[in-house]
Each structure stands twice: as structure tokens, then as C-alpha cells.
Amino acid sequence: MPTIYETIFATLLWATMTCLVVAVPGTALAYLLARRSFFGKGILSTITTLPLVLPPTAVGYLLLRLFANDGLLGANVLGIDLNILLTWKAVVIACSAMSFPLFVRTARVAFEEVNPRLEDMGRSLGFGACRAFASITLPLASRGLVAAALLAFTRALGEFGATVIIAGNIPGQTQTLASALFSAQQSGNESVANNLLLVALGVGFVTVYATEHLTRKSQKTKGGSR
């Protein structure tokens, strides 16, 4: 049996990996939704948001279908076995699927709050589109992006429904803080459940507080100085 510390460490590691997985595509999609008009934007935005409103178990089941042998990303279709299901990789994938919409929504707001006129100013000073993004938009949206990453981290930390469907709840392999708390409660192990609850409360409080702090600060600075 893994110790409580091992479970907490594994959960923090997987939540961190989730942040890394969602950060790049999430930032790109958030920028696209915030700045560009294109056909199907509304549909893309809705699909991105869906995991927020679907039952996590439904998202988990969808992922299960996707990675099953006969699924779109299964061994029969791809020709190779990615060996995802019931492994730590499935935990990260489930957490990413559930955190992605939260990251994108927060990052999109961060980009929308940066006035596009500032990018225009960059262009007039000789910046190409990529440099204007990297030197102006990204630094000005950075607090919002960090807040988005923290929210994604928190969401991954508490993820349960989708994870147990595709990763299971295997102690020492795929058990997370949330599923360990569930197991402890189900088996009547109150002291472990209480400890896990305290850890969840502490980590959740710190990250949400930090997110709020960052969001407030970023609203003060990124409007541009007129």
C-alpha cells in the first residue's frame, strides 16, 4: 500500500503534468477565440466548453471509447497500442480533458482584456505579428495565463469522475487524492480521509487565492495606458 504522502505527491505531479499538457494548445485556442473571427467559432467554443457542463463520468466514458481497442485512438485503428487505459497516462489525459475548458475560458478573458490597439502600436514600431504577440500580448496576459494554469491545476487535483473511468483507482498506480479519499471513506478509514481532506482544502485554498490575486492585478495593468 502506498503511503498518503506518495498519493499526494503523485497527484501533485499529475496535476502539474496536466498544466503542461493544456498550456500550449489552450493558450493558442484562447488567443484564436479572443482575437479572430472565423467560420465555426461559436461551435468550436461550445465544444471546448462541453466538459465543464457534462458529467465527468460522461467525459471519462467518451475517453474510454476513444482509447478502447476499436476506438479512434485504439490499437486496432492506429496499429500500435498506446497503452493508455488504467495507467498514469490515463490520469493525465482525463485531468487534461476536464481542465482544458477552464484553462481556455480564463486565458481567453486574459487575452480579451489586452487591448488590440497595443498590438497595433507594436506593428507600427516594426513588430511582425508573432513578435507583437510575444512582446506585447503575452506579457500583458501573463498573469491571467498563470491564473488559468492554477485553475487547471486545481481542477486536475480534484478530478475524480473521468479519471476512475479510464484510469481506475489502483493504489500505487493510478490512485489520486480524490480517489484515495473516496476509497478511505468507503472503507471507513476516517483518519486517512480526514488527512486527505485537509490536504485538498489547503492546496485548493492557496491556488484559488493566488488565482484571484493574479486576476485582480492583471485587470489593473493590461488595459494600456491612455
Binding site: 506593428r123 507600427s124 514600431l125 491612455r226
Partner: protein
């Protein structure tokens, strides 16, 4: 670039919400002013020239370099046009200090072979930005922001400077101060400029050609003297009053006033105006509202007003709202516009060719 070649060759049709911007202009004015009331398409035109707005049909070339040609599918974005753009709201980068803002165009300046360090020092000196260097831009005053925005554009080594209502967001005192900086920039850097404004005064001082825009079309074109003394222009300034703008050399500094000598080939014309910072020999820009001037047909005596200038009536104009006399006080000096009532015009029998005196108080002149 040849002295005689056209700087601008512009043919544009761009549909807007209320009308179509339809501009045909070829010209070589180095200081081009675009005048018009709010909503006439001035800022859109400037953004189009800057390469920040797409979607028009037509072509645009500057100094022989083609920037847009919709038939050939050519469109250069702002970063390829080497322009300096100063928008009305400044849009300084809030994550950078004043120095950081000024250095944002460094890479472009170096790419086009500009000695950045030299131009940076010159800009800081001309715009007096030393004391604000390490300040955050959100702590600057309106005038400081305007100067930093101007400096940022200048430091990037532009071949054309585009100014959108450079003084509009400032109060009257600050407007005059920044206007002096703009004159310094014009005289020091020798960069062609397009200045958009709804204020005749700043365009008269800065520009050598004016385009008057109305609902997206150029309705008049000419020198500031021609344009702003046309009858049709008098009512455009109906809310703030028509201002006569002139420049002179400071020749005498007294306790509370100074004496300005207007440029005149014959007998010098001297005016007593309020004290302003500067030393003898400096050029001073001044303005005088058209309704602050009295006309006398004989030289008045026993007057408290310090300025009594001989002049000749060149014309009497009547608009829908008011009546004006146009008076000349010297060949090289812009004509003065004087607002009068019809009674006064009739009683004094004002008509072109008669000699009069223009009378105004020292404090009526704004410097």
C-alpha cells in the same frame, strides 16, 4: 528622393458604416494636415495609411514605394511601412517603463540603419523626457504621455510620422505646451508628417497643406492660409470660436509681458502679449480669437488695450451664423479674421481696401 516627386499617391474607396471613404490625393506636402469634424473619416484614413486597416479598394504609395494595390493583391502591414504612429489615446505599453517604451522600436531603427543611440538622445532632449525615464507610464500626466508616445514613434526611425489628434485629449495650457514640442519635432527631425485634427489652430501652425474631409471625401485642399480663411471654414469652429494663429520672434521681455515681432519684410509689426517662458530670439506661437479683436477706422487714443495695429480690410464675409472681416497687417503675416456684427460693418462701412486699426488687449493673445 527627389524634391519634386510626389510623397503621396493615394486612391482609396473604403466602405464605412455611414458613408464610403473615397479619397483621391496626389501631393508632395511634407506636413500634411487632415481637417474635418468628428466622424468625417479622418482617423480611418490615417489608420489606412498606417497599414492598420484592410479592406479598401485602391492603391497607396509613399515616396515612390507601393504600400497597397488592391488590383495586384498587394498590402503591406504597418510593420513593413516604416511609419511612426501616434494615436489620440497614446497607447503606451503598460508593462514597460518610459525608457522601455522609447526602446520598443530600437530593432527596427537599427535594421533601417538609424543610429539609435544618437536619435534616442536627441528625442529625449527635444521632448524633455529625462526626468520621466524610469517612471511607470500609468503614473505620467497627459502631456508626458503624449510626449512619450511621440518619442516612441520617433525613436523607431520612421520615414513618415502619423499623428492622430495629437492635442485633442489635453487641456488648453497643455495643448500649447505640446504644440511647441511638435514644432520642435518638425524643425529638428525633418520627417514628413500627416496630422489629423479637428482644430484649425494646430494645423495652421504645423502644416503646409490641408485637406478638408467631409463624410469621407476631400472637399477642399490648399495651404492653411487659404483654407482657414475661406468663408466655409468660419462656421466649423463655431463652438470654440475662430482662432487667428501666428508666430513671431520674442524681441523684448518685460516683467509680465513680452514683445513679439511678426515676420514682415517692411515695417516690423510688434505685439504686446502675455509673458511666456523663453529668451530673446525665440520663436513664439500665439493665437487670438476672432471675437477678441476690435476694428477702428481711425487710430484710437486713450485706450487701455496695448495693441493697436494698422491693417487693411481684404474682404467682408457673411456666413449663416456670423459676419467676419478679413484684415491684412503685412505681406508675410497670415490675414486676421475679425468677427463683427452686421451693425458694426454697416456703421463703419467696412469694405475691401479701406485702412483700419485692429485693437486687442495683451491678455487676449494666448501664447
Amino acid at each position: 528622393m527627389s524634391e519634386n516627386s510626389n510623397l503621396f499617391d493615394l486612391s482609396l474607396r473604403l466602405p464605412l458604416d455611414r458613408f464610403e471613404l473615397n479619397i483621391e490625393y496626389t501631393g508632395s506636402a511634407r506636413m500634411l494636415g487632415v481637417f474635418g469634424v468628428s466622424g468625417s473619416g479622418k482617423t480611418t484614413l490615417l489608420e489606412y495609411i498606417a497599414g492598420l486597416r484592410k479592406g479598401g479598394r485602391g492603391c497607396l504609395s509613399f515616396s515612390g514605394e507601393s504600400w497597397e494595390n488592391s488590383k495586384e493583391g498587394l498590402f503591406l502591414w504597418a510593420d513593413k511601412r516604416r511609419i511612426g504612429y501616434v494615436p489620440q489615446d497614446h497607447w503606451l505599453f503598460p508593462h514597460r517603463s518610459v525608457r522601455g517604451n522609447l526602446e520598443m522600436g530600437k530593432r527596427r531603427a537599427l535594421e533601417v540603419g538609424v543610429d539609435f543611440e544618437a536619435i534616442f538622445e536627441r528625442v529625449v532632449e527635444v521632448l524633455e523626457l529625462q526626468s520621466t525615464f524610469d517612471s511607470r507610464v500609468d503614473r505620467l500626466s497627459g502631456g508626458e504621455r503624449q510626449r512619450v508616445a511621440l518619442g516612441r514613434a520617433l525613436c523607431s526611425g520612421p520615414q513618415l510620422l502619423l499623428l492622430d489628434e495629437p492635442l485633442a485629449s489635453l487641456d488648453r495650457t497643455l495643448r500649447r505646451r505640446i504644440l511647441r514640442f511638435l514644432i520642435r519635432v518638425r524643425d529638428t527631425f525633418d520627417i514628413p508628417m500627416v496630422i489629423v485634427s479637428h482644430n484649425p489652430m494646430e494645423l495652421q501652425v504645423l502644416c503646409d497643406e490641408i485637406l478638408v474631409l467631409e463624410e469621407g471625401r476631400i472637399v477642399e485642399r490648399g495651404s492653411p492660409e487659404e483654407i482657414f480663411r475661406r468663408k466655409s471654414m468660419f462656421d466649423t469652429a463655431k463652438e470654440q470660436g475662430f482662432e487667428n494663429v501666428f508666430s513671431g520672434i520674442l524681441v523684448e521681455s518685460l516683467d509680465r509681458t513680452i514683445t513679439l515681432e511678426l515676420e514682415h519684410e517692411g515695417q516690423p509689426v510688434r505685439l504686446r502679449v502675455p509673458k511666456v517662458e523663453g529668451s530673446v530670439g525665440d520663436r513664439v506661437i500665439a493665437s487670438l480669437a476672432s471675437d477678441d479683436i476690435l476694428i477702428a477706422t481711425e487710430k484710437p487714443t486713450g485706450l487701455s488695450a496695448r495693441n493697436c495695429i494698422p491693417a487693411r480690410i481684404e474682404g467682408v464675409e457673411e456666413t449663416e451664423l456670423r459676419q467676419f472681416a478679413i484684415a491684412s497687417i503685412g505681406e508675410a503675416i497670415p490675414q486676421f479674421v475679425v468677427e463683427l456684427t452686421q451693425d458694426a460693418i454697416d456703421e463703419l462701412s467696412l469694405k475691401p481696401g479701406i485702412d483700419v486699426y485692429l485693437v486687442f488687449k495683451t491678455n487676449a493673445v494666448k501664447v
